[in-house]
C-alpha cells in the first residue's frame, strides 16, 4: 500500500529549474532513496510533501491526505530533517528540544533521551555555538522524538562523522523493521545501499530512473584504474576487448560488469604495476547503469 505518493507534480521556476511532471509512490515499510545532483529538484519536491509549497500542477499525498490542504494533520505522524539546520536564536539544544516537544505536544521524553544517548549528544550548549555535526544531531533527535510513522529526511547525515553515520544507518534500519515509511535524499552510497529498498534519481526536475536497490547492485558496473609498466603495454592492453572508458599515459580505466574473471585473465598477461578502485559517487554509478540516456 502506498503511504506517500506524488502525482504529476509540476513547479516551474524557469531555466529548467523546478520539478516537472514528477510521479512516484512509496509503500509502507519502505526506505526510498531520493537521489540527484544539486539543483535537481529534490528539496523542491520535499517542500511540496511538507506542505510548504502549493503544487502548480498535480498533487502529493501522505497517508491518503493532501500534502497542501491537510498539512497540519499529516504533520502529527511525520518526522522531518531539513537540508539546512536553522534554529531559533539564543536557545540551547535542550531549550530547543523541550520547546519542540511541548510545541508538538509530545508527552514522554523517553525517546528523546534514548536518541541523545544513541548519538552521544549533550545538547546543553548554545545552538549558535554548536558544530555542524552537533546541530545535525539535534535535528535528528527533533525529527524522531515523537516516533513518527513517516519520515522525510533531506541529507540526514551531512556533517556527521563515520561512526555517527553508521549509528544513523542502524536507526533507519530499526525504523524500517518497525514498518515506518521513509523518504531519504542522500549522496552517500553506503547509506543508501544499506538502508534503501528502492531508489529514484531525478535530474533537472524530471525522474530519470527508479529501481530496486538489489537490481542496481546486481547490475552495478565497477570501475578499475589499472597502471601498466609502459605506454606500449597500455596500448596493447586496451586492444584486449575490455570496456575501456579512459586511457592516459600508462593508466587505463576499465568498467567491469559481471566479468571480473576476464579482467583478471587479461591482467595476468600484462605487466600490471597497480590496481585502484576509485570512489564512485552514487550518481555516477546510476549514470553508468542507465548508460548515456541520462548523461548530459
Amino acid at each position: 500500500m502506498s503511504v506517500c505518493a506524488i502525482h504529476n507534480l509540476t513547479r516551474n521556476y524557469g531555466k529548467e529549474r523546478g520539478v516537472f511532471n514528477l510521479s512516484f509512490s512509496i509503500n509502507r515499510g519502505e526506505v526510498f532513496g531520493f537521489l540527484g545532483p544539486n539543483g535537481a529538484g529534490k528539496t523542491t519536491t520535499i517542500r511540496h510533501l511538507m506542505g510548504f509549497l502549493k503544487p502548480e500542477e498535480g498533487y502529493c499525498t501522505i497517508g491518503g491526505k493532501d500534502c497542501w490542504k491537510d498539512r497540519a494533520v499529516i504533520q502529527k505522524s511525520l518526522g522531518y530533517i531539513p537540508g539546512e539546520m536553522v534554529f531559533f536564536d539564543d536557545m540551547t539544544g535542550t531549550d530547543f528540544l523541550t520547546f519542540m516537544a511541548k510545541y508538538r505536544k509530545v508527552k514522554s521524553d523517553r525517546r528523546t533521551k534514548e536518541l541523545l544517548d544513541r548519538f552521544e549528544l549533550d545538547p546543553r550548549s548554545k545552538l549558535k555555538k554548536m558544530s555542524k555535526g552537533m546541530k545535525q544531531k539535534v535535528g535528528i533527535v527533533a525529527a524522531f522524538m515523537h516516533d513518527p510513522e513517516v519520515l522525510i529526511l533531506d541529507e540526514p547525515t551531512s556533517g556527521l562523522d563515520p561512526l555517527m553515520q553508521s549509528r544513523f544507518v542502524e536507526l533507519i534500519l530499526e525504523e524500517k523493521a518497525k514498518g515506518k515509511t521513509i523518504l531519504m535524499s542522500s549522496h552517500m552510497f553506503e547509506e543508501v545501499e544499506r538502508t534503501c529498498t528502492r531508489v529514484a534519481i531525478i535530474k533537472k526536475g524530471r525522474l530519470v530512473a527508479m529501481d530496486a536497490v538489489e537490481t542496481l547492485k546486481a547490475a552495478q558496473a565497477k570501475k578499475f584504474v589499472i597502471t601498466l609498466e609502459s605506454e606500449e603495454a597500455t596500448a596493447a592492453f586496451a586492444q584486449e576487448g575490455l570496456r575501456i572508458i579512459d586511457i592516459s599515459q600508462n593508466r587505463v580505466t576499465v568498467i567491469v560488469q559481471n566479468n571480473i574473471k576476464e579482467l583478471i585473465a587479461v591482467m595476468n598477461r600484462f605487466p600490471v604495476t597497480n590496481i585502484a578502485t576509485p570512489n564512485q559517487s552514487l550518481e555516477e554509478i546510476f549514470m553508468q547503469y542507465y548508460g548515456g540516456g541520462i548523461v548530459g
Binding site: A72, E84, V86
Partner: protein, 265 residues
C-alpha cells in the same frame, strides 16, 4: 493559539519591551515634572517662542489643563514614535525573520496549523503593545497623582490611551501584514516601516501650516484626533473605531496571506 509558541514569543520580546518602557518612563517623568499650572510651563514658553516648530511635532496644547499638557507633549510624538518602533521590530521578528532565516521550518514541521502560528505571533505582538500602552497609562496617572493630585482628568486620559492603542494596533497590523507578505526581511521591514513613517511625516507636514493642512487627508494619523478625544468630539471616537476596524481587517488579511503563501524554507 499555541501556548508554547506564545510563551516563547513573550520570552523573546520582554527585553525589548523593557527598553521601550524605560524610555517612555523617562519622558513621562520629565514632562510631567515640567507642568506648572500657575505659571505656564517652560515648554509652553517654547511653544510661544517657536509655534511652527513645536506644532510640527504636535506640541501645541489646546488649554492650560494637565490633560492637554500631556496630550500635547507626550501623545503627539513620544507615544506615537516609540510604540511604532516596537511594532516594526516586533512584527519583523515574529514572521519575516523566521522565513528569511529558515527557522520557520520547525514551526511548520509540526501538527500546528499555519493559521495558529500566525495568530499566535500576532497575539505576541499585540500583547507587547498592550502592555506598553497600559504601562504608559498607569505611569501617567501615578506621576500626575503624586505631583499634582486631583488635577488629571483620569477618564479622559484613559480614553486618550485607548485611542493611542488603536492607532498603534493599526500601525502594528500594517507591519504584520508586510511581514507576512514579503519573504525577504529587507522588503518586510522596508514596506512595514515605510508606510507608517510616511504617514507620520505627512502628519508633521499637515501640522506645519495652514496652507499644508489638506495633507492631513492623506494620512491615517489624522484618525487619532487627540485634541478631539479630550474635547469629547464624536468624530474623534469614530476615528478610533475606524483604526480598530482597519487593524482587524489588516490582521485578518495578514493571516490569510500567511496561510496561503508558498514558503521556500
Amino acid at each position: 493559539m499555541n501556548l508554547t509558541l506564545y510563551k516563547r514569543g513573550i520570552q523573546g520580546s520582554w527585553k525589548m519591551l523593557l527598553i521601550f518602557a524605560a524610555v517612555i518612563s523617562m519622558y513621562f517623568t520629565v514632562i510631567v515634572s515640567m507642568f506648572d499650572p500657575a505659571l505656564g510651563s517652560a515648554l509652553n514658553e517654547f511653544a510661544k517662542a517657536m509655534p511652527e516648530l513645536m506644532a510640527i511635532v504636535g506640541m501645541n496644547p489646546a488649554s492650560a489643563e494637565l490633560i492637554s499638557f500631556l496630550e500635547a507633549y507626550l501623545y503627539g510624538f513620544i507615544m506615537l514614535v516609540f510604540p511604532m518602533l516596537f511594532c516594526i521590530l516586533s512584527a519583523n521578528k515574529l514572521i519575516a525573520r523566521h522565513i528569511d532565516r529558515g527557522s520557520m521550518t520547525y514551526l511548520l514541521a509540526a501538527p500546528v496549523k499555519r493559521v495558529t502560528v500566525a495568530f499566535t505571533q500576532m497575539k505576541v505582538m499585540v500583547t507587547g503593545l498592550f502592555t506598553l500602552v497600559i504601562f504608559a497609562t498607569l505611569l501617567g496617572i501615578v506621576n500626575c497623582e503624586i505631583s499634582f493630585p486631583g488635577q488629571l482628568d483620569i477618564g479622559k486620559f484613559i480614553l486618550l490611551n485607548i485611542g493611542a492603542f488603536c492607532l498603534q494596533l493599526f500601525i502594528g497590523s500594517i507591519c504584520f501584514l508586510s511581514s507576512c507578505i514579503f519573504n525577504d526581511v529587507k522588503y518586510a521591514v522596508g514596506i512595514g516601516a515605510g508606510i507608517p513613517a510616511l504617514g507620520f511625516i505627512i502628519q508633521m507636514i499637515a501640522n506645519a501650516g495652514k496652507e499644508l493642512e489638506t495633507a492631513k487627508y492623506f494620512t491615517f494619523f489624522t484618525l487619532f484626533d487627540s485634541d478631539g478625544i479630550i474635547a469629547g468630539d464624536p468624530f474623534a471616537f469614530w476615528g478610533i473605531a475606524a483604526l480598530f476596524a482597519g487593524a482587524l481587517a489588516l490582521f485578518t488579511a495578514a493571516i490569510v496571506v500567511f496561510v496561503k503563501k508558498d514558503l521556500h524554507i
